[in-house]
C-alpha cells in the first residue's frame, strides 16, 4: 500500500476566469511508507499547493490523489495525516498540553486518554516540563515542537509539513531537523516536507522532488542515499555536499521570485 499516490494531477486556480492561474500540471508522485520526501523549488512552483492537495485542503482540477489507498478526502476525514505549518498555529488560549490534545478532542477521545497521549507526545518532543505553559511563554523552536507533537498526537502514518522551520534561526533549525528525524524514526512516520532550503531537503530526505515554476511541474526527482542514520557528521560528509550540488544544479536557471504559493489560493 502506498502512503501517497498522485496520478496525473493538475490544479488551476480561478479556472475559466480571466485571472486563471495554472498552479500545477502533470504531477505524478508515489510515496512509499517510511519515506521522507521533500518538495523544493522557487516561489510559485506550486509546492505548497501540492502539499494542500495531498491534505485535501484543496481539490485537484484534474487527476487523482490517494492517501493510504483511500481518496484524499476520506483520508482527511479519517485524520490519516498530521500537519504542521511555518507558523506553529498554536491556540494562544490553550496550554501546551491542551494544544496537543485538540486533534484527539475532535476525534471524541475521553479526557484521561487524551491527557495521557498528550503527555506522551510532549515527552517525545522533550517538552514535558512545559506541559502547563501557555504558547507565548515558549520560544519559536519550542512552539514548533509543540506543533509537531500535536500533528503526531493521533499517531497518523503520514506527516505533512509546510516549511515548518522556515521562521527559525539557523542553529535552532539544524537542531529541529535532527529532532524531526529522531521522532520520525521512533514513530515510523512517512513525511512530505516543503522547503526552500537545499541543505535541509538533502539532510532530511530519502528523495528530493525538484519543482519548477509557471506552471508548477516536477523537474527531476533525486534519490538521496546517505543512509538511515544521519547526524552532525552527515552535514560534513562529501556525499552530502555532492547531493547539495546536484539539487542546486537542478534548480539552476529557474526564474526566481514571482507570486508566492500562498498568494495563488482563492
Amino acid at each position: 500500500m502506498n502512503a501517497v499516490e498522485i496520478r496525473n494531477v493538475s490544479k488551476v486556480f480561478n479556472a475559466g476566469r480571466p485571472n486563471a492561474v495554472e498552479a500545477l500540471v502533470d504531477i505524478d508522485l508515489t510515496i512509499e511508507p517510511g519515506e521522507f520526501v521533500s518538495l523544493i523549488g522557487p516561489s510559485g512552483c506550486g509546492k505548497s499547493t501540492e502539499l494542500r492537495l495531498i491534505a485535501n485542503l484543496l481539490e485537484p482540477t484534474t487527476g487523482e490523489i490517494s492517501v493510504n489507498a483511500k481518496p484524499a478526502r476520506q483520508a482527511r476525514l479519517d485524520q490519516d495525516y498530521g500537519m504542521a505549518f511555518q507558523q506553529a498555529g498554536l491556540f494562544e488560549w490553550r496550554t501546551v498540553t491542551k494544544n496537543v490534545e485538540l486533534p484527539l478532542e475532535l476525534k471524541g477521545w475521553d479526557k484521561e486518554r487524551r491527557r495521557a497521549r498528550a503527555l506522551e507526545m510532549l515527552d517525545l518532543v522533550k517538552l514535558s516540563d512545559f506541559a502547563d505553559h501557555l504558547p507565548w511563554q515558549l520560544s519559536g523552536g519550542m512552539q514548533q515542537r509543540v506543533a509537531i507533537a500535536r500533528a503526531l498526537a493521533a499517531r497518523p502514518s503520514l506527516l505533512l509539513m509546510d516549511e515548518p522551520f522556515g521562521a527559525l534561526d539557523e542553529m535552532t533549525r539544524e537542531h529541529m531537523q535532527a529532532e524531526l528525524l529522531r521522532i520520525c524514526a521512533e514513530t515510523s512516520t512517512t513525511v512530505v516536507f516543503v522547503t526552500h532550503s537545499i541543505p535541509e531537503a538533502v539532510y532530511l530526505s530519502t528523495r528530493v522532488v525538484v519543482m519548477s515554476p509557471r506552471p508548477g511541474r516536477t523537474k527531476v526527482v533525486i534519490d538521496v542515499d546517505l543512509g538511515a542514520e544521519r547526524n552532525v557528521d552527515t552535514r560534513e560528509d562529501p556525499a552530502f555536499f555532492r547531493k547539495v550540488t546536484e539539487v542546486r544544479e537542478a534548480l539552476r536557471g529557474m526564474p526566481i521570485g514571482g507570486p508566492d504559493d500562498m498568494a495563488l489560493e482563492p
Partner: protein
Amino acid sequence: MRRSPRSIFQAVWPPVVFGVGFLVVWETAVKVFDFQPYFLPAPSAIWAEFQQNTTLIWDATKVSGLNALIGLLVGTALGVSMSFLLARFRLLNDLTTPLAIGLNAVPIFVLVSVFNKMFAITSEVPRRLMVTLVVYFIVLVNVARGLREVDHTQLELMRSYAASESAILRKVRVPNAVPYLFTALKIAAPAAVITAFVSEYFGGSQNGLGSRIVSNISISKNAAAWAYVLGACLLGLTFYLIAVALEGVATPGGVGSRGRDGS
C-alpha cells in the same frame, strides 16, 4: 503576572504627584487671580459641596448608574447575539453592514428626543434605550471582528482535522473573540455612563447626575455642579474598573493581551 509592591509603587507615584500638583495649582490660581465662583470654583469648595450633598449625589448616581448598567447589559447581550448571527449568515452581514454604517453616522443623541416623545415624561426607558444603542454598536463591531478574524493557520489546521463548522465556532472563533469582547467592554462601560447622563440633558425626570449638573449651573451653583461632575467621574471610573477586573478573571495570565505566535 504578579507585581511586587515596589513596582506598583513605582507605577503609581508619578500620576499621584501629578494629580496632587494639578489640584494645588488650581487652588492657588483661584486664590491668586481671585476667580469668581461662577467662573471657576476652587477644588476645596467643590470638595465641601461634595461632602455636604453626599446623599443627594449618591441618589442621583444610583439613578444614572442603574440606567447605564441596564443599557450596558442589554446592549452587550444584543451585540453578542447579533455578532453570532452575522458570523453564521454572511448574507445577513452583507445586508446589515451598510445600515450599521448609516446608523453610526447619525449624531446619536438626537435620538433621545425622539425616544422621549415615545414614552411617558418621567420614564427612564428612553435613556436606557440610548445607552443600549451605544453599547450595542461597540460590542457588535468588536465581537464580530473577533469571530471573523481568525488566524489562517489555525483554520487550515481545523480543516485538516475534518472539524465541523460548529466545532470551529466553539473551539476557535469563540475563544478568539473573548479578548475582543473585553476590549469592547472597556470602551463601552465608561461610554454607557457618559451616555446615561448626557441623555438627561434632553428632558425627562430631573433625578440623575446629568440633570443635577444642568439645574445647578442654571442657578449659578457652580461648585455644586462640579461636585456632581465629580460623582459622574467616579461612577464612570467604577464601571471601567469593573470591566478591567472581569477581563482579569476571564483571561488569567493576560492571554488576551498577548500577540499571536509568529504570525
